[in-house]
């Protein structure tokens, strides 16, 4: 239990960012000179007795899930194989950008686990989720414990720039997870490029990530619009096990073989000062990243001989 909740929470992370950038970006107060001083040295120190981070991440809860469900899924169910992990930096910040799929998307957990398992310096990955989930009882409690942070530009910036962490975003957002099986591996629109601007501001590289297998792990055949409207959920999909097996059917993943490919990092400090002000450039880079992931996905699919065996 619980893992699927985390996974479900990836929806529409991008849309939040869009919204935030559209209207409610923290506006500079008029009577305050912008602080140019680097505040990173004033970050709170680590309190060794604490098991919960300032973001609400709990070592204990995360560890239990990691050793049980996630471990099983990673090694035995999805048999994840990983390519190109060297591009993920050892200790600096980086923004991982991935394609997104599956009604209760398992890709985020698997990417995070891949870095924990295979990287030369295992690091935690912070996964952006829609703030929507902060208002849902249960989810609100569990998601932060296992490393999810609400997708707010300020959160992403603090993690990337101030704390030099890895942040995983899905620019497709819910457009990616709600797409039908017939549209598999065809990337949706990459938001409005908010993720590119975030990486530019934080001066960290973008690492594109391609995930193959998640589309077949939980294919969506149709959407039950009426039920969606009645329940107020973001969507109610028809998957091989849902709603056939009841709510537990949302857990039903098919044992597709997962391949995760990390691409070469894209440096974001190559365009001079304040490139995020150039909306055209931000869009171009976002489109480039999308194209890169799309082409690599097609390449990986062309090499794949079996959905189940890889």
């Amino acid at each position: 239990m619980g893992d699927e909740r985390r996974v479900m929470a990836r929806e529409a992370a991008e849309e939040v960012r869009e919204e935030a950038e559209g209207g409610r970006l923290p506006e500079a107060s008029r009577r305050e000179p912008l602080d140019v001083e680097d505040l990173r040295e004033h970050l709170p120190g680590i309190e060794p007795d604490r098991q919960v981070s300032d973001w609400g991440r709990s070592e204990r809860v995360e560890g239990i899930l990691d050793r049980t469900l996630v471990d099983f899924l990673y090694h035995y169910w999805f048999r994840v194989s990983v390519e190109g992990l060297d591009g993920v930096p050892d200790d600096s910040g980086a923004l991982l950008v991935s394609n997104h799929s599956g009604a209760l998307p398992p890709d985020a957990t698997m990417i995070a686990k891949a870095i924990k398992e295979e990287h030369r310096r295992p690091r935690p990955v912070h996964i952006t989720v829609e703030h929507f989930f902060k208002g849902y009882p249960g989810f609100a409690m569990l998601l932060p414990k296992i490393g999810a942070v609400p997708a707010h530009p300020a959160n992403v910036h603090r993690l990337l720039y101030d704390e030099r962490q890895l942040v995983l975003v899905f620019p497709e957002g819910r457009k990616g997870t709600e797409k039908l099986y017939k549209d598999r591996y065809r990337l949706r629109r990459f938001g409005r490029g908010g993720f590119v601007a975030a990486a530019m501001r934080a001066q960290v590289p973008i690492v594109p990530v391609c995930v193959v297998g998640a589309e077949e792990a939980q294919p969506i055949f149709a959407h039950l619009r009426l039920l969606q409207r009645l329940t107020g959920l973001i969507y109610v999909p028809v998957t091989p096990s849902f709603p056939l097996l009841g709510p537990a059917g949302m857990l039903g993943y098919l044992p597709a073989k997962f391949v995760i490919r990390f691409l070469e990092p894209i440096a974001t400090d190559q365009w001079g000062p304040e490139p995020w002000e150039d909306a055209g450039l931000v869009q171009t880079v976002a489109e480039k990243v999308r194209d890169l992931i799309q082409r690599n996905l097609l390449d990986m699919l062309a090499k794949r001989s079996s959905v189940w065996m890889g």
């Binding site: 939040v16 919204e19 935030a20 409610r24 923290p26 506006e27 500079a28 107060s29 008029r30 009577r31 305050e32 000179p33 912008l34 602080d35 001083e37 505040l39 004033h42 970050l43 709170p44 120190g45 309190e47 007795d49 604490r50 098991q51 919960v52 300032d54 973001w55 609400g56 709990s58 703030h131 929507f132 902060k134 208002g135 849902y136 009882p137 249960g138 989810f139 609100a140 409690m141 932060p144 414990k145 942070v149 609400p150 707010h152 530009p153 300020a154 959160n155 603090r158």
Partner: protein, 348 residues
């Protein structure tokens, strides 16, 4: 600029009194005058207390007569259980406007204003950032009367700062306060046998120890800090962590839906959930405290240590109850001690 002649408004509040006592220790400060409607709640040496309501004409006369260069406003009520909404509004909004009015004018000696505000300025909402910085405005309009008051009071101070570039205006937004000497809605809830929470939510909480509040205000009095500063201790705790530190279980007495409906009857039986606290119990709040730290202030306690201090005090509370005589202000005695020729300095 060095503050030498200081006016503390809200002297009878917990902060006002503690701050005045801290300032008294500094010999470089010539004069400390405290104004309030109620008598001071702590024993003071040389602070002079003037009983006056928030009337700008009267306060202004004091300011001009005493050549006050620094006004520290500790009067803001940030807990809706302390006063009914109308009184709180009167104190928070009208009071602030009056204090500011008392500091204006071409002949005004005031060069610095420090205002004690609250993190309730930011509110608690679903789409909040995990750490509010000072530049951020709240994403939604205020929901509760006390939040509205705080936003309004701050905007009055902001307008004042715009119109008076010669005056250093410092606003400190304090996180939820904990401490042995203090009773707030939070300490009352934490003193219960179990920590009440909303079912399915584990909000993030940031605290500040009472000593740090006085410390921050003193820091602002000693240095020229212009602008808004968050004042919150290092570390953001989950409510479950707080309960752990207190050694108490979490009690999900509030349902996730219809929270307000259930909170109302609970108030009748003694569980006082102020309305501004319900949203905090749901979504929590964290603040970025680095701007104030960058000005050189070192917090004495982290959030976690503040909770541990509270836990200690809660364990001792039943034993120490009524042990110490509370201080009572007696005007004649205070005047005698200050002005009588019979009193020798050493005696004080």
């Amino acid at each position: 600029m060095d503050s030498r002649r200081i006016l503390v408004t809200g002297l009878s509040t917990f902060w006002g009194g503690r701050l005045a006592r801290a300032l008294e220790r500094d010999d470089a400060i010539e004069t400390i005058i405290g104004v309030d409607v109620h008598d001071p709640s702590v024993e003071l040496d040389r602070t002079e207390y003037v009983r006056v309501y928030n009337q700008h004409a009267l306060i202004r006369r004091i300011v001009v007569a005493a050549e006050i260069d620094t006004v520290i406003d500790t009067r803001l009520a940030v807990d809706s259980t302390v006063a009914p909404p109308r009184l709180a509004h009167e104190n928070n909004v009208i009071g602030t406007m009056n204090i500011l009015a008392a500091c204006t004018g071409p002949d005004s000696p005031v060069r610095k204003i420090v205002m004690k505000s609250s993190a309730h300025y930011y509110g608690c909402e679903r789409d909040d950032p995990a750490f509010f910085t000072e530049q951020m405005s709240r994403p939604h309009p205020p929901r509760t009367p006390i939040e509205r008051d705080i936003v309004e009071a701050e905007s009055a101070v902001g307008d004042f700062a715009d119109k008076h570039p010669g005056v250093t205006v410092c606003v400190l937004r304090f996180a939820n306060t904990l401490g042995p000497g203090l009773r707030t809605s939070h300490t009352r809830l934490f003193a219960l046998p179990a920590v009440p929470c909303i079912l399915g939510f584990d909000p993030r909480y940031q605290f500040i120890h009472e000593e740090d509040i006085v410390g921050c205000l003193e820091h602002a009095a000693r240095h020229d800090l212009a602008g808004v500063f968050n004042a919150a201790a290092d570390g953001v705790l989950a409510l479950s962590e707080v309960a752990d530190l207190l050694g108490k279980p979490l009690a999900p007495v509030l349902p996730p839906w219809g929270t307000g409906l259930v909170a109302a009857p609970l108030r009748r039986v003694g569980l006082r959930f102020p309305s501004e606290l319900l949203n905090q119990l749901r979504y929590g709040r964290g603040m970025d405290n680095r701007k104030l730290k960058a000005t050189g202030y070192d917090y004495r306690y982290t959030s976690r240590e503040a909770v541990q201090q509270l836990a200690k005090q809660l364990r001792l509370a039943p034993i120490l109850r009524d042990a110490s005589e509370p201080y009572r202000y007696e005007q004649e005695v205070e005047e005698f001690l200050r002005y009588s020729p019979s009193v020798r300095r050493g005696e004080r």
